[in-house]
């Protein structure tokens, strides 16, 4: 399990010092991606296990995006497992379908100037969790994990241009959902 048997203690200490401060960040992303606290815990544990195993190959750069990229891969494997076990369509497929079905054109292209009213955190979490996966993950990485566009691009393995368009779309969808939530109350 250890990257280097002779250097076990030192490497483990360095890994702890570098990676543990971001545990809440990793757990937060897992909760939004998987929308289930047990699955999120399992994914985070697997993420840290993989990160520790590959810590020797980690070269430079901030460690937070590196950890979040590993977490994202673990979550994708979990999607695949879910779809295999229970006939559930994978979130990625759904995202692709939603895009091709023209959800892009549905939201208003120029939002009303209304000011958003305050919603409690639990409600906002639910609105974010209901966003299509591709937009949800970009929005969470930006607004909650506080990554730069470049870092998000590295985490999701896509060009910066894709990050920018998904973020624009994700915010448009969230704002629309927010206004709809206000009207229901």
């Amino acid at each position: 399990m250890a990257p280097d048997v002779k250097d076990d203690g030192g490497t483990a200490q360095r890994f702890r010092a570098a990676a543990l401060p971001y545990l809440d960040d990793v757990y937060t992303l897992a909760r939004y991606l998987l929308r289930d606290s047990h699955d999120a815990e399992d994914a985070v544990q697997e993420c840290y296990l993989r990160a520790f195993r590959h810590f020797g190959t980690f070269r430079g750069g901030p460690i937070k995006p590196w950890l979040l990229a590993i977490l994202r891969n673990v979550c994708r494997a979990e999607y695949a497992r879910r779809s295999a076990s229970a006939f559930v369509q994978s979130d990625e497929d759904k995202a692709a379908e939603e895009c091709s079905q023209g959800i892009w054109e549905e939201a208003p292209s120029s939002p009303e100037a209304e000011t958003l009213r305050h919603l409690d955190a639990a409600t906002v979490r639910r609105l974010i969790a209901d966003l299509p996966p591709a937009f949800r993950e970009t929005l969470v990485l930006r607004e909650i994990n506080d990554l730069s566009y470049r870092e998000i691009a590295d985490v999701i393995g896509a060009p910066v241009g894709t990050v920018m368009s998904r973020l624009a779309r994700g915010r448009a969808l969230l704002r629309t959902a927010w206004l709809a939530e206000e009207k229901e109350r």
Binding site: V44, Q45, F52, P62, P65, A113, L119, E143, S148
Partner: protein, 249 residues
Amino acid sequence: MSCDDVLIHALIDDELDAGHARAVEAHIAGCARCAQQVTAYRGLRQALPAHELRYTAPAALRARIERVAPAKTDRRALLKGFLTGGAISALAAASVTFVVVRQGRDDAILGDAISAHLRSLQADHLTDVPSSDQHTVKPWFNGRIDLAPPVIDLTGQGFTLVGGRLDFIDGKPAAAVVYRRRVHVINLFVAQGLGARSRTPQLEVVQGFNVLRWNEGGLDVVAVSDLNRDELEEFGAKFIAAARGTGQR
């Protein structure tokens, strides 16, 4: 420039360089639709309780992960390793010691720099002299430390000067010049004997932080930040260009 929603988001996120930001702002000034978009999405960001939207990892999960990477070094195993290698010649042993000691000193310097950086992020520890004016920050160090640190205002180039502070690295006083990039703080430590090897910046990763170290005008400079690697290197390049008078300032 035509309407481009993606650029509006990049502007709100402070992800445009100065030139593009000016162009987008000029467009917004004359376009009611885009101005409304900016207001709408700034409003969304303000309404998002970003901090409350985070989750806290359960203690049991943290404990499980700590077992993945055990905290304590097994000293007996290390000792056993040394004893089995008992046939090493005295010369080899001596050179090993030399390398270990040097490495240890350098680790101590970088470790101190990281600790100083972390301390600075706690409330009210960032600066002793909060000022974005280099002509206020630089003289402040006079009489407080026996060197004149380069203090350069890079605000126009995307790195805001926020002030200066006196700190300690490797048991000796060091000047800390503090910059900000978005929410990221850069501590630039200046002193002698911080282990810089050349005038060309060397990037290292220490405890997950990016550290850029070089020699500037006979002084060693160590920049520490949680900023990503590319932007910290950009900071180093702009700082050096300005310090050596090759910038267009």
